[in-house]
């Protein structure tokens, strides 16, 4: 498309040269080279009708214009602008002017005067509005220049009296974006037309057109964003706008009121129709609350959202939002929540509900009942009951934010949040569960509330259940019955949805460690021990039993009296679980079992510092290996690698660091080994077999470097340099190996050139790091660069070989935090003996559930690979929506993989694993293609997906038994 256009332009231009040469040269003196402007000019001259001209302009707009020719193009457009009679063409020209002035690198001050001049004689309102838009673009590009801004604002003020709403809209927008913000500037130019922008904008709050009113409010907000302190006087004006007929005005007004309430929270405003006064923030809060029951849902969402961020509001106002003041037949009625609370506190929990239980009690004074003007009253009750789920979500979010800042409010809103667990839309349920989790440190759940919360555990949606487990992890329960209830419900959940095993265990772990004293009295019952009789030993593999044990062991950690209640098999089970599920079962100090537990427990807690030290010591040791003999070097490296690997296994916090270093040393070791082979000294070309070791080493080093670069999160540029350096060495090795094995020079030429290019790009990318690399391979190579470029391939190889052998080992600095990306496939488990049967040629969906840790941008990089027994491999790209983010650094992939194959005679296993895709260009900043703002239309075209260079497997493969059956005829 673009190529075609270019060609067309070129043709047009050549035509021009032949036909109207004199004419053109007379006019286009300034144009030094054939440019777009010339072609455009000719097009426009040729255009016989406005429609034609419009077509030309449209075509012209599709291709970008270089910075140098922008001004020329603008001049031509302006020239045509003055000549043009048709408003639509002028409109297009005006919009083109705006687009052109956006061109990066072009300074539009040279065309500003012309643009302002065009305004003078323009009659069409649409064109006028478009021109003002262009001026806005120009103004935003020249924000540093106050005089330009002043001038534009003046122009805008002049056109504010236009009868068309579009023009007034644009003027206000312009004033909002460019109006003077600093007081000082305003004073200097007081004499001029533009004085108090706030006043000018404020006058348009009462414009007859709702669009202009909206624009005025938006302009005011824009000024606020740019740092101007709005005057408090606007508040009363804004309040009037809340009753506007049009939703967009109301919506903007709500925002304005919110801004003002944040600016002047403490100033006092009178309450109309009474002589009382209240704080402005309270008044604004009441008004915004009122908007939660607005007729338009857009406004309702807006209002509900903003409520959340009004934290300075006084607490009695806040608490009103949850109080609807129920009544029935003019008598005060208690809410179901209050009744539940009372029922709970009176001690009789499960009384059957009678008819008339909610019978209203005391009479209320009719005069005291406010039905509508009660401000904040019940705002959240309304918001949470709203018809649109968008409003409900916004209300829940607001509740969350307010509750986080006010513990008493958190306590009060609990009932309402719990109610939201039964919302009809899953998103809302999920949101309210998350909210509850966030405020959970402020609250303690009552038993009846816990009951409602736990009822949701049976939900069929996995997300809901897991969110709820997370919530239970950090809730406070008040009674032992509560704990028991929670356990029972969780076990019920476990039997219903066995896949939740892990998450339930984790949940019980925290539940136990948070409430040791509440668990203590439950222990005999839970373990079903009896003071006199021995009870049968429970099945150790029963997940429910494990769940109970997890709860108890975690409680026992901080409750030393508990182990006395355990029976013998419990201790045995403890030992087993401590080993198999060490992340769930804490170390316990058991009486009489000291021998068993003592070697484990002390080794965990005070271990950290020595191990860190150990890591650094072993690294130090390695850096001195320059002075050792080759044999010694190899041995030292081997030992260190082994040490580091073991350390990584033992110390999960240091695993990333240890693995990273081990990998690096491994590369070094391979390199050394490869270089030490005797065959290098043989002058004759080598057999393929002979260099097998060296080429394999080179290959492995390459792989390892990719792993180092892309599999660890927290790698900084200093490490990246070293990694790339290592890669360069591997490539050199590869080159040498090939040079020594292949006969003939032809292929070598290309390889050498490519290698030199890579050295060059290395130098360019990491120029700042080069000083740190004294004596390294690259350092030496760069010294020899002039020689290398001119010499023959064979010589190049020779030089490389010697440099490679002489180069020193680079010190690898360690970053603060280094984590290795890991993936664990939870499902499929790979344990099933029943093959998944399906008809060949059709697809079967396989559920894949995996946890990912420390993966950056999993949506782009994580792929699923399926390996069939015939060696066929498939890479599946999961949808971005399949990834969830349960916590920092953690991701969860729940997706479906579609399998298909031709018929097999018997079931066989396929392998499923996760891959980390990488693209080495991704890391370099230069990969970014500069985008031109000029032609949006072109950019909308699908661009080729940035290529995946390679993949690293980073999870253990899981085997799945499948059986494609031949289709029945």
């Amino acid at each position: 498309m673009a190529a075609h256009l270019k060609k067309r332009v070129y043709e047009e231009f050549t035509k021009v040269v032949q036909q109207q040469h004199e004419d053109l040269s007379a006019k286009k003196l300034r144009l030094t080279k054939p440019s777009k402007s010339a072609a455009l000019h000719v097009d426009l001259c040729k255009a016989t009708s406005p429609a034609d001209a419009l077509q030309y302009l449209l075509q012209f707009a599709r291709k970008p214009v270089e910075v140098e020719s922008v001004e020329g193009v603008v001049r031509i457009l302006l020239e045509h602008y003055y000549k043009e009679n048709d408003a639509s063409v002028r409109l297009k020209i005006a919009s083109l002017l705006g687009l052109l002035s956006k061109t990066a690198g072009f300074s539009p001050d040279c065309i500003m005067d012309d643009a302002i001049n065009t305004l003078q004689n323009e009659k069409s309102h649409q064109v006028l509005a478009q021109l003002l838009d262009t001026l806005l673009v120009i103004g935003t590009k020249l924000t540093e220049n106050p005089s330009v801004r002043m001038r534009l604002v003046e122009v805008a003020c002049k056109h504010l009296t236009d009868s068309s709403h579009g023009v007034r809209n644009k003027c206000l927008q312009l004033i909002g974006c460019l109006g003077p913000v600093e007081k000082g500037v305003a004073k200097e130019v007081e004499s001029q037309a533009a004085k108090d922008v706030q006043k000018i904008i404020g006058d348009h709050f009462n414009d007859q057109d709702p669009r202009v009113r909206t624009a005025a409010i938006k302009a005011m907000l824009q000024l606020h964003e740019r740092g101007l302190k709005l005057q408090q006087a606007i508040y009363s004006q804004a309040c009037k706008l809340l009753a506007d007929d049009y939703e967009q005005v109301r919506s903007a007004a709500v925002q304005l009121i919110w801004v003002l309430s944040q600016l002047y929270p403490e100033s006092i405003v009178p309450i109309p129709s009474s002589n009382e006064e209240i704080r402005l923030v309270d008044d604004a809060f009441g008004k915004i609350c009122h908007m939660v029951s607005d007729g338009s849902w857009v406004v309702r969402v807006q209002a509900a959202k903003l409520l959340g961020s009004m934290q300075q509001v006084s607490s009695h106002f806040l608490e009103q939002t949850l109080d609807k003041k129920l009544m029935s037949d003019l008598r005060r009625k208690r809410t179901a929540h209050e009744r539940a609370k009372e029922l709970y506190s009176s001690g009789e929990f499960s009384s059957g509900r009678k008819w008339g239980d909610d019978a209203p009690k005391e009479e209320i004074d009719t005069g005291a009942v406010n039905l509508i003007e009660s401000g904040a009253c019940g705002a959240f009750v309304h918001g949470l009951e709203d018809e649109m789920y968008e409003v409900r979500i916004a209300a829940v979010e607001a509740l969350c934010m307010l509750a986080q800042s006010s513990p008493s409010f958190a306590e009060k809103c609990l009932d309402f949040l719990v109610d939201m667990f039964n919302d009809e839309i899953e998103e809302v349920r999920l949101q309210s569960i998350h909210t509850m989790r966030k405020i959970s440190n402020n609250i303690t759940l009552r038993e009846d509330q816990l009951d409602t919360v736990l009822a949701v555990l049976e939900d069929s949606s996995r997300d809901i259940r897991e969110a709820l487990h997370e919530l239970l992890c950090c809730t406070n329960v008040s009674t032992k019955e509560g704990i028991h209830l929670a356990l029972v419900e969780l076990l019920k959940n476990l039997t219903k949805y066995p896949t939740d095993r892990e998450s339930i265990w984790k949940c019980l772990k925290f539940l136990g460690s948070r409430h040791p004293t509440l668990v203590l009295p439950l222990v005999p019952e839970l373990l079903s021990t009896h003071p006199f009789f021995d009870t049968p030993e429970p099945d150790m593999d029963d997940p429910a039993y494990i769940a109970v044990l997890v709860l108890i062991f975690n409680a026992a950690k901080s409750c030393p009296t508990m182990p006395a209640l355990f029976s013998d098999h419990t201790f045995r089970h403890y030992a087993y679980l401590r080993d198999s599920l060490s992340h769930l079962v804490p170390p316990l100090r058991l009486p009489g079992r000291k021998l068993l537990s003592s070697p484990v427990s002390p080794s965990i807690t005070p271990h950290e510092d020595p191990s860190q030290q150990f890591l650094h010591q072993s690294l130090e040791r390695v850096y001195n290996l320059q002075h050792l003999d080759p044999q010694g070097i190899q041995e030292l490296l081997e030992f260190t690698i082994r040490d580091l690997q073991r350390l990584g296994e033992l110390q999960s916090e240091l695993a990333g660091m240890a693995d990273f270093t081990a990998t690096y040393l491994q590369c070094q070791l391979l390199l050394i080994k490869a270089l030490q082979e005797k065959l290098w000294n043989v002058a004759a070309p080598l057999y393929l077999k002979q260099n097998a070791l060296a080429s394999a080493a080179a290959k492995q080093i390459l792989e390892e470097t990719y792993k180092m670069e892309f599999m660890y999160s927290g790698v900084e540029s200093r490490q990246v340099v070293i990694i790339h350096h290592m890669r360069l060495q591997a490539k050199a090795l590869q080159l040498i190996v090939t040079a020594r094995t292949t006969r003939g020079v032809e292929p070598l030429f290309g390889m050498c050139e490519k290698f030199l290019q890579e050295v060059d790009s290395f130098q360019r990318c990491f120029i700042s790091e080069l000083p740190h690399m004294q004596g390294s391979f690259v350092d030496k190579l760069l010294d020899l660069m002039p020689r290398l470029v001119t010499s023959k391939p064979s010589e190049v190889v020779k030089i490389l070989q010697t440099t490679l052998r002489q180069s020193t080992f680079l010190h690898l600095p360690l970053p603060e935090q280094l984590h290795r990306a890991t993936a664990n496939i939870i499902e499929p488990t790979g344990e099933s003996d029943n093959p998944l049967r399906f008809t060949s040629g059709l697809v079967v969906a396989l559920d894949v559930d995996a946890t990912l840790e420390h993966v950056q941008d999993p949506q782009g990089t994580v792929k699923v690979q399926v390996l069939y027994p015939d060696g066929q491999a498939q890479i599946i790209h999961p949808k971005p929506a399949d990834f969830r983010n349960p916590g920092p650094g953690r991701h969860r992939l729940i997706t479906q993989v579609y399998l298909s194959h031709t018929a097999w005679t018997e079931p066989c296993q396929i392998e499923v694993r996760l891959l980390l895709a990488y693209n080495s260009n991704r890391s370099k900043a230069s990969a970014k293609i500069p985008k031109s703002t000029w032609s949006e239309s072109l950019e909308a075209l699908p661009q080729p997906e940035n290529g995946i260079e390679g993949t690293i497997p980073f999870s253990k493969p899981v085997k799945v038994y499948i059986m494609p059956k031949p289709a029945r005829r």
Binding site: R353, L371, Y389
Partner: protein
């Protein structure tokens, strides 16, 4: 000007809604309901009240039905077929679909079961339905040239609507029954800020502010769930339409969410037919159902199956919805008798029960019931009461008034005592008049109609161009000719008016003589006058013409010497009537004489 007559029914009473509105000469009947409590003539409104003699069709311009409940449409076949009305009847599409099912059911019970005669027949229902015109939400329907109606969503039941009736610039909004809080299958009522002259609102819950719906729902679900888990059976007596569907959806989604397996049954009959319509009218339901129906229509129940008599004896847990809702007869009572003896079972009454019914007895705590044939039935099962009502509460009514911003409010469909309270509140908070007429009482409301006048665009532009920008707050003065012709008003420029009326233009000129003492020559006097005027009238164009006269805008001033006294000059000032203001100003200015300083 809006004359309001509260006709046969409604008023301060629940049931038998029927309201007659006269608005700017048009007569509209709103709803045509029956009273459930009576079995004689009183059950239908007294239509003879409308016109003593003469046909109803001539008197009424249209009939509007707000929704399909029998207390809003039960008398319709009687009214149209037996009393005789042939004009249009308006209702929404779902109402039109479901209404005949209910009417037929009602007819069956009255005629076939109770053996009454002199009642409308099936054919009459069909004929009546042929007169119905269905309307869409927010569709403006022109009943005739002047009368137009428009429907707004009202919640309450499927297809319930509020109607705006508009004649010229006068309008009335009739709410019917509505609900401002959304429920499981319907959304909340919504209306434009249409500022009607009168809002006729129901006021069933005038003195109640209700608790959030969620608590009730949760309680309901929890109870059902617990009973089912225990292995008990749950009986929910319902009326066929409205709440029943809400409860079905509630249970259905709960079953789906919680993966429950116990069967839910719905006693068959007209429900199935009605459910069919619920499936069709997805656009009338709430956001959730509307959004998810592409994947699955919520009314295609997966867990709810049709009930068969034999199922009641099946072992194991189950939930049964059965009609009728007050346990006074039919299937629900049969099932109740079977299950009452087991304490594991439960009956949930989802609504109010009339005194004397079994439902009312068990709710008031009676444990031993005397059935027909002197049987004593001991009730061991649990009895629960859950109110699921779909009327707006006091706060909801106020909210609607706030949305619509009416000038007057009229409360109907409620108890007098309760309405009194609400009336007071409305007057106090919105400062509008509020009425609450009794049955048969007429309320007249005087409106202050604004009369629309067409103005030609040219004139408008010309007039607005003069003077300052239009300001919302200040009225603006315009010059033009008002033509009143064939009931229409137009404001046109004088030239056009003349042209249209075929009249020649006459010019009215005022001429005035002003005597000035000035001994000088005429042309000098003229020059002085000219200079003086030029000095005073800076904003006007003052010209000195070569023939010795002065023009100020279009006003001509000439000076001649007095025939007798040469020292006195006579200034002739002449102006047309359009320039009256300036002209009289000029004369008064000149009468003051010329300033001495210029001489």
């Amino acid at each position: 000007l809006v004359c309001f007559c509260l006709g046969p029914g409604a008023g301060q009473d629940v049931g038998r809604s029927c309201i007659l509105v006269s608005i700017a000469g048009k007569n509209v009947m709103l709803d045509c309901g029956m009273h459930m409590g009576y079995n004689d003539d009183r059950r239908f409104p007294d239509f003879s009240y409308i016109t003593q003699n003469g046909r109803l069709t001539d008197f009424l311009d249209c009939v509007i039905i707000s929704h399909f409940h029998l207390d809003h449409c039960g008398a319709l076949p009687y009214f149209s077929e037996m009393v005789g009305y042939d004009g249009p009847i308006y209702m929404t599409h779902p109402t039109k679909a479901i209404c005949p099912i209910l009417l037929e059911d009602y007819r069956k019970i009255t005629v076939d079961k109770k053996g009454e005669t002199n009642f409308f027949t099936s054919q009459m229902i069909k004929d009546c339905m042929k007169k119905v015109v269905a309307v869409h939400l927010h569709q403006t329907v022109q009943v005739d040239e002047e009368l137009e109606i428009k429907a707004f969503y009202a919640g309450h039941v499927l297809g319930a609507a509020m109607f705006q009736i508009k004649v010229g610039c006068e309008s009335v909004v009739y709410t019917g029954d509505y609900n401002m809080t959304p429920d499981r299958h319907l959304g909340a009522a919504w209306i434009d800020k249409c500022r009607p002259d009168l809002l006729i609102s129901e006021s069933t819950y005038a003195t109640t502010i209700r608790d959030s719906k969620r608590c009730r729902e949760r309680d309901f679900l929890k109870k059902v769930h617990e009973t089912v888990e225990r292995g008990g059976k749950v009986l929910i007596p319902v009326f066929a339409l409205g709440r029943a569907q809400e409860l079905c959806i509630l249970l259905e989604t709960f079953w789906e969410r919680m993966n429950l397996k116990a069967p839910i049954y719905f006693s068959t009959g007209l429900t199935e037919k009605a459910n069919h319509y619920y499936k069709l009218f997805i656009t009338w339901t709430n956001q959730k159902i509307r959004k998810t129906f592409v994947q699955r229509n919520m009314f295609e129940f997966k867990h709810i199956k049709a009930f068969d008599r034999a199922f009641a004896d099946n072992p194991g847990p189950m939930v049964v919805f059965a009609t009728p809702g007050m346990l006074h007869a039919g299937q629900s009572l049969q099932i109740f008798r079977k299950w009452a003896g087991n304490e594991k079972n439960m009956v949930i009454m989802p609504g109010y029960c009339v005194q004397g019914t079994v439902g009312h007895k068990i709710l008031s705590g009676q444990r031993k019931l005397e059935m027909e044939g002197r049987q004593i039935l001991e009730v061991k099962m649990q009895v629960e009461y859950m109110s699921f009502s779909a009327h707006a509460d006091a706060k909801g009514i106020m909210q609607l008034i706030r949305q619509a911003e009416p000038r007057n409010v009229l409360l109907v469909h409620g108890e007098a005592k309760k309405m009194e309270f609400l009336k007071q509140k409305i007057e106090q908070e919105f400062h509008v008049n509020c009425y609450m007429p009794a049955n048969g009482e007429t309320t007249t409301i005087f409106t202050n109609p604004s009369i629309p006048v067409d103005i030609s665009l040219g004139l408008l532009k010309r007039e607005t161009a003069i003077g300052l920008l239009p300001d919302v707050k200040k009225p603006k003065l315009m010059h033009g000719t008002l033509i009143m012709k064939d009931n229409s008003f137009r404001l046109v420029s004088p030239e056009q008016a003349l042209k249209e009326l075929g009249l020649a233009e006459h010019q009215l000129r005022f001429t005035c003589r002003v005597h000035i003492q000035d001994p000088r020559k005429e042309h000098e006097t003229v020059l002085r006058v000219y200079n003086h005027l030029k000095g005073v009238l800076k904003d006007y164009s003052v010209q000195h013409l070569p023939d010795g006269s002065i023009t100020v805008e279009s006003i001509l001033i000439q000076a001649t010497a007095h025939s007798e006294d040469q020292g006195t000059k006579v200034l002739l000032v002449s102006w047309t009537y359009q320039d009256e203001e300036l002209g009289s100003y000029l004369t008064s200015l000149l009468k003051k004489g010329l300033p001495q300083s210029t001489s």
